[in-house]
């Protein structure tokens, strides 16, 4: 197998947690607010349904081919030509996705922390660190992920707790003013993020204790949803209608924190925490992309392609958008459909074909 390291189920879920939340924490509150208004706080719950669906597709694919990632499974299901075309789509889609993440990081750091530093320096250093992480293997990614996610969760909880005094529960009202429709439309964004649970289809073959995978994955979706809800609730109760007008509502929330006139202006602190999350996210996607390339090309090791891949993704980060307005367009609702197609619809088609073929040819073919 191309990756010799093995991770545990918990480690995989820990990796996926920031892989979804790190970027959603920035933009989901304002995007959902734009569509769902005051009902935005429960939009992630609708999104969770899509999350469950994604998890089941990923687990279904894994059940067909337990030792293969989605890219390897595609050639087995669709035959080599169609399978390679399927893989080629991901070869082109994944750098796009990774580029968006890297660009989000660059834009965020430039607008919030280092306004005079050139973009390439900011993105380049981060991608370099992530590439070193990816080259060290999945075990190292998982372990460093554990440390940084623990940091991320503990400190984020601490910061949110500091905000309790500033919340206005009256902002919940009115609930369901225009029926459920706005909240369902608004759920498109959280749903798009939750489709990133398809990562399971790439990482599960390297997990060594898979006995409780269904339960643990559902719990993981619930944790992510809960975190999204908490963040949305905090933004709503803190800023109310103003949430939409900020590009990064969570950063604004951080400005509210004042404890005893000493702990204030914790934005830089928030950025530092957030960086630990985005580091895991970029690493995971860079890893998945490098793995995809290596498997698509039939290489024995993915390590040689990590640095070229990292460079390509950085270039994509420039290509995808001209400026800050473009980038918010890319992560807004219209492009969520694009994400849904790549991460939900195509895999589900793959699964459907795979299951049909299995039915037709009877048993025996499933486990080559």
């Amino acid at each position: 197998m191309i990756e010799k390291g093995k991770i545990s189920l918990a480690q995989m879920n820990i990796l996926i947690y920031p892989a979804i939340l790190a970027t959603s924490i920035l933009s989901v509150p304002s995007i959902t607010m734009a569509h769902a208004g005051h009902d935005m706080w429960f939009t992630p719950i609708w999104g969770a349904l899509v999350g469950f669906l994604t998890v089941f597709i990923a687990l279904g694919l894994n059940k067909l081919y337990p030792e293969r990632t989605m890219i390897e499974a595609s050639t087995a299901i669709l035959g080599s030509v169609l399978g390679k075309i399927f893989g080629l789509f991901y070869m082109l889609y994944l750098p796009h996705l990774t580029g968006v993440i890297i660009r989000t990081y660059g834009e965020f750091i430039i607008s919030n922390a280092l306004p005079h530093t050139p973009m390439y320096a900011i993105m380049g250093t981060m991608v370099l660190v992530c590439a070193i992480n990816v080259r060290s293997g999945l075990e190292v990614i998982a372990r460093s992920g554990q440390i940084f996610v623990a940091l991320f969760v503990i400190l984020a909880t601490f910061l949110l707790a500091l905000l309790i005094g500033e919340l206005h529960p009256a902002e919940f009202l009115p609930i369901g003013e225009k029926g459920l429709r706005p909240s369902i439309v608004g759920a498109l964004a959280p749903a798009a993020w939750l489709t990133e649970f398809i990562l399971i289809a790439f990482l599960l073959p390297f997990v060594h204790n898979r006995s409780k995978v269904v339960r643990k994955s559902i719990i993981a979706v619930l944790y992510v949803t809960l975190s999204m809800v908490v963040i949305n609730v905090v933004c709503l109760l803190l800023m109310g209608d103003m949430t939409t007008s900020f590009a990064y509502p969570v950063m604004i929330a951080a400005r509210y924190i004042t404890i005893a006139d000493f702990m204030q202006h914790l934005e830089a602190f928030v950025i530092a925490i957030w960086i630990s999350g985005i580091f895991v996210k970029i690493s995971v996607f860079l890893y998945v992309y490098s793995l995809t390339i290596a498997q698509w090309l039939g290489m024995k090791d993915y390590r040689p392609v990590v640095f070229p891949t990292a460079f390509l993704c950085t270039v994509f980060a420039y290509w995808i958008a001209r400026g800050k307005s473009d980038i918010s367009g890319i992560i807004s609702a219209s492009s969520n459909l694009y994400t849904l197609i790549a991460l939900l619809i195509l895999p589900s088609l793959l699964l459907a074909i795979g299951m049909m073929r299995q039915k037709i040819s009877g048993q025996g073919k499933a486990a080559p």
């Binding site: 390291g5 093995k6 991770i7 545990s8 918990a10 480690q11 750091i109 922390a113 280092l114 530093t117 320096a121 900011i122 250093t125 981060m126 660190v129 070193i132 992480n133 060290s136 293997g137 075990e139 190292v140 998982a142 372990r143 460093s144 554990q146 440390i147 940084f148 060594h208 006139d261 000493f262 204030q264 202006h265 914790l266 934005e267 830089a268 602190f269 950025i271 530092a272 960086i275 630990s276 580091f279």
Partner: protein, 518 residues
């Protein structure tokens, strides 16, 4: 593992010459003619070596030669126990060859050797050799002249409470210190001699049934792969057999306390005792075991937990405090509360350097002072601290070269690095402080985070004899967490460890379980 093999240096030309010179002797067995053997040994110890060849007759009949180094063996004992009985007191009816003498000479540690190499090796190590006419084997005796330092309190690792014995340079003394504490017959030792020239004896100590046999085998394999001229200190060995010798983080623990070695043996680690140095090596270690002090277990557990957390905090501070100061004063001034910001700004107003340069100057000056203090004799060492405190501290601030807050930061960093109980564990944070400072000076807190990430990535990939360096935190095994973030009171701890021991199948010790659990 392969790394250490690859590192085996090519022999120097001089050594190759010497090897060729002595190689034929290696295959030569001793001949039964006394003169041949003596001539061969004479050739080896031709000039410049102070080997005594003492020719005499056993029972005034048979020619024999006693060869020894007078400075390495106890000549009084030699005369009394060997020469005396041999010259006069052998019963006539016995055949006089090495075999019989082996049985009747009143020395408890005597051995027969059959080749020239063995014979010369014994002479060089200080064991007298007796060669008898007509015997093709020689007899060696263990009569070492024991000259060693007394057992003293270890200077580098002092504790307020706890045993005050420290290892010495003598291997036999060190082994006796360990055996005295560990009386179970399962306490085993393997011996190996390393170094083309020094032939340093290295003992690998482990507890059978507690230490993973695979780890012991791996350690022996790595030890026997060492090809070097000499071993003078444990660090030589550490660099040869570490998993990643290029890492700034030590992958073996060096200690001069027998109680620390015993505690580690009980936890399933092995120890290396090296002749000629008071420092023993312990492996496999993790980052957290490097940050533990023996005193954690010698004082009340609540205090230990408090101190342990304090130590983690200050270990972290010793790594990042100067960088955090640089990053915050350069890029994120808004984080500082207004009143403090004003006083910092006032202090920094007259300083001609940016914070990064200021921090670098101070940190380098501090490291220089520290190094000077270590190297100088104790009497002069005090002068260094006065110079340091007055010039670096006060004068530099009044002269407007560095700001007072910077001095405070450097002082706290210094204290933080002194809090690390193991000297070698503190080296990494001392070294890595500088690159992180540079990152913080160029990219602010973001840069600092990037630096931390690189360190964490490195630590996550690091292993010490197959055991992940950050275990049990990651990869996680929560049952052992109690000894990382906590130190349970002895009763609870004992229950836990005895559970471990009774549940353990042979060959499945604590450490190995951590290692296998990913």
């Amino acid at each position: 593992m392969t790394k250490s093999l690859r590192r085996s240096g090519k022999p120097l030309p001089l050594r190759r010459h010497l090897q060729e010179h002595t190689e034929p002797a290696a295959v030569h067995p001793l001949s039964s003619h006394l003169q041949d053997n003596v001539a061969a040994l004479h050739a080896i110890y031709a000039e410049g070596s102070d080997v005594t060849f003492h020719a005499f007759q056993i029972n005034q009949k048979i020619e024999a030669v006693l060869i020894f180094r007078s400075e390495l063996c106890d000549t009084a004992l030699l005369d009394r126990q060997i020469l005396g009985p041999l010259i006069t007191g052998i019963p006539d009816n016995l055949p006089l060859n090495a075999d019989t003498l082996h049985r009747i000479v009143p020395v408890s540690s005597s051995k027969l050797v059959g080749t020239l190499t063995e014979a010369s090796l014994n002479i060089s190590s200080g064991h007298p050799i007796l060669i008898v006419e007509g015997s093709s084997s020689a007899l060696t005796f263990g009569l070492p002249k024991s000259e060693h330092r007394n057992v003293e309190e270890p200077t580098a690792e002092s504790t307020l409470r706890g045993p005050r014995e420290g290892f010495t340079e003598s291997l036999t003394v060190n082994i006796s210190l360990l055996r005295k504490r560990m009386k179970n017959p399962n306490f085993k030792m393997k011996s190996i001699s390393i170094g083309q020239y020094t032939h340093t004896t290295v003992r690998l100590a482990y507890l059978e049934g507690v230490t993973d046999p695979a780890i012991v085998a791996e350690a022996m394999r790595r030890l026997s792969a060492i090809e070097t001229d000499g071993i003078l200190e444990s660090e030589y060995i550490e660099e040869w057999i570490s998993d990643q010798p290029k890492s700034p983080f030590p992958q073996m623990l060096s200690t001069e306390r027998p109680d620390v070695v015993c505690a580690n043996l009980l936890e399933g680690r092995f120890a290396l005792l090296i002749d000629g140095t008071p420092f023993a090596l312990v492996a496999p270690v993790t980052l957290f075991s490097m940050l533990q002090s023996p005193e954690d277990y010698y004082q009340h557990f609540m205090m230990s937990i408090f101190i342990r957390w304090l130590r983690y905090l200050f270990y972290f501070l010793s790594l990042v405090l100067p960088s955090a100061y640089v990053a915050i004063t350069t890029y994120h001034q808004e984080m500082i509360p207004t009143v403090l910001l004003l006083s910092v700004a006032k202090a920094r107003e007259e300083i001609p350097f940016p914070a990064l340069i200021e921090a670098l100057i101070m940190e380098i000056a501090f490291e220089a002072l520290r190094e000077a203090g270590v190297r100088l004799p104790k009497q002069v060492g005090a002068a260094v601290s006065i110079v340091g405190a007055l010039i670096i501290g006060q004068a530099a601030t009044t002269a407007g070269i560095v700001s007072a807050p910077m001095v405070i930061i450097v002082a706290i960093t210094g204290i933080a690095s002194f809090m690390i109980p193991r000297y070698s564990a503190g080296l990494a944070s001392r070294l890595l402080r500088f690159p992180i400072m540079l990152l913080a000076g160029t990219l602010g807190l973001t840069g600092m985070m990037l630096g931390m990430m690189l360190i964490v990535i490195h630590l996550c990939g690091l292993r010490s004899f197959g055991v992940p360096y950050l275990s049990p935190v990651t990869p996680t095994s929560s049952s052992v967490w109690r000894d990382v973030f906590w130190r349970s009171p002895p009763g609870a701890n004992r229950n836990q460890s005895s559970n471990h021991r009774s549940n353990r199948k042979p060959g499945m010790p604590i450490i190995a379980r951590q290692a296998n659990k990913r």
